[in-house]
């Protein structure tokens, strides 16, 4: 890390301003990506101190959830990490199912793995793409936007929405996969994504300008990263191979063969490298999951948790009553508390849920992966140049939707 420069000691002209300068960055600034704000104390271009501030996108997710039924919370989870909403849906549904003691169907487990890994890929693409835009490498952004668009088409086909997916339900999913969907997923995963990753790889990974710009920008040691609660790619870039898909296998991740890439220095370059490799590993998982995808129903066979079929509702009084109770009162979840964590694109996405036995949650606390990462930004950039803040911020991938909730 560069030491703060004492310009008066160098015999410069005495009228040059030698006092630290305070500047404000954000909350509405192209390089802060979301509504983030920093108060920076600068000596020349060197950051002496940095105070992050957020909350501009706070919309009371937790308060709103307490007044909703369990199923009504699913659409709210889309808005947490809006770059990979399907993963939030999966994380939330898993938490409620843990409380209900539901064992979802084999097919649903595989489907959830496939949609999660597709989301991981597009999340990393957005992160790397926009990070590179900030550093002046616009081409990579377009190289990654094309496959991302293809994945969004798949998601739209899956659940009718591109961004606000609300795909999972307690005990299953909104709908089964459309006819031929897996073939189209494979076509994108084989024909579009690897080529785009290779293009970006060719432009950046051995590019001297890129390496000199990112290597050493915002480093962190493994010890500090753990103490600050970092998870996900930012922790792995610091050399800690923690990945809940391997370490606390959920769904069916223990049945797949994939690697967990780790870095060494924990700097912007390592974070980029880890994400690039994770996309390739996600492709491997999708290939294996589709190859093993079992048939059968996607929802569990339990009328307490699954809406009756629409056709039955029209002609059968029990189904009609069931439907009404289901919508108006919500799924009955036993009293208790659980914490359920999944490996989202940015790190550990945890849901702490308290139920008192009603049709809606008594308390939901989201543990967003961004929260400790954003807290750690001053640690990453102190003593570095102000321009490095932009590179580091992009590579840490702060999503205000889940940060502010």
């Amino acid at each position: 890390m560069a030491e703060p420069v004492d310009i008066t000691a160098k015999g410069e002209t005495p009228d040059l301003q030698a006092e630290p300068m305070l500047i404000n960055i954000g909350p509405s600034h192209p390089a802060t990506h979301a509504t983030l704000r920093f108060h920076a104390k600068l000596d020349g271009e060197t950051i002496l101190d940095l105070v992050p501030e957020f909350g501009y996108l706070h919309r009371g997710f937790e308060k709103e959830s307490e007044a909703s039924t369990w199923t009504q919370v699913v659409p709210y989870t889309d808005r947490l990490n809006y770059v990979s909403p399907l993963m939030n849906n999966v994380g939330y549904a898993m938490a409620v199912e843990k409380l209900c003691g539901i064992e979802i169907t084999e097919r649903c487990k595989y489907v959830r793995v496939i949609v999660s890994e597709l989301s991981r890929i597009i999340d990393h693409m957005v992160c790397i793409g926009t990070n590179m835009v900030d550093l002046g490498a616009l081409t990579n952004f377009w190289y990654f936007w094309k496959p991302r668009e293809e994945v969004y088409k798949l998601i739209e086909e899956l659940c009718g929405q591109r961004l606000t997916t609300a795909y999972t339900r307690i005990g299953g999913a909104m709908a089964d996969l459309p006819e031929g969907w897996t073939d189209r997923v494979l076509a994108v995963c084989r024909g579009v994504i690897p080529g785009c990753i290779a293009d970006v790889n060719a432009l950046l990974t051995k590019n001297r300008i890129f390496i000199e710009r990112t290597m050493g920008a915002g480093p962190i040691t493994a010890k500090d990263a753990i103490a600050l609660g970092f998870t996900g790619p930012c922790l792995r870039a610091a050399g800690v191979p923690l990945d809940l898909r391997k370490d606390e296998p959920y769904l069916v991740y223990d049945r797949f063969d994939f690697d967990v890439p780790v870095g060494e220095a924990g700097d912007t370059c390592d974070r980029y490298m880890v994400r690039m490799e994770e996309m390739r590993q996600s492709l491997r998982i999708i290939e294996q999951a589709i190859a093993k995808l079992p048939g059968g129903p996607i929802n569990i066979d339990d009328p307490r948790f699954i809406l009756p079929e629409k056709a039955l509702v029209y002609e059968n009084i029990e189904a009609l009553m069931n439907h009404f109770k289901f919508i108006m009162e919500g799924v009955k979840v036993p009293a208790g508390e659980v914490y359920s964590a999944t490996e989202a694109a940015n790190g550990e996405l945890g849901f702490y849920i308290v139920s008192r036995g009603g049709g809606g949650p008594y308390k939901i606390k989201v543990r967003p992966p961004c929260f400790p990462l954003f807290q750690g930004i001053p640690h990453l950039v102190k003593g570095q140049m102000i321009a490095d803040l932009i590179a580091v911020l992009g590579s840490v991938n702060i999503i205000a939707g889940e940060l502010d909730r």
């Binding site: 003691g101 103490a227 606390e248 914490y339 807290q375």
Partner: protein
Amino acid sequence: MVLDRLRARFPADVVSVHSDFGDDTALVRRERIVEILAFLRDDPELLFDFAMDLTGVDYLGEEPRFEVVYHLFSLEKKRRVRIKVRLHEGDPVIDTAVPVWPGIDWYEREAWDMYGIVFRGHPNLKRILMFEGFEGHPLRKDYPKAKRQPTIGPEE
């Protein structure tokens, strides 16, 4: 295993334990909370080096009313534990855990902001999601969901 060890070390401070839904949970008294957390982090059998989450819960109508919930994770043992502390409404004060995990700083600020729980000794206990000048603590159960407050205008 974790809970047994915790109980053996702090017999007077652990109020109750359970492992419902597979989550190891201990309800402890607040007086020695920092000691308990430091023990969980440093004990060679436990090594809970990650403070994954901290939040408050408002059990309005019960006494003690508030609960502070810590979620810890051990990288080496791949284990989790939940530590809970009950706080009375008139005295929602607990010692800060920032000396144990620097990363817990903002979680405590959020619990202060949302529930009004005071973390004694916290280096910078101020609002984090809401703005300075916001009145009340929005996640308390007696704070109406539809209540509106004027947002901050230019300073006088």
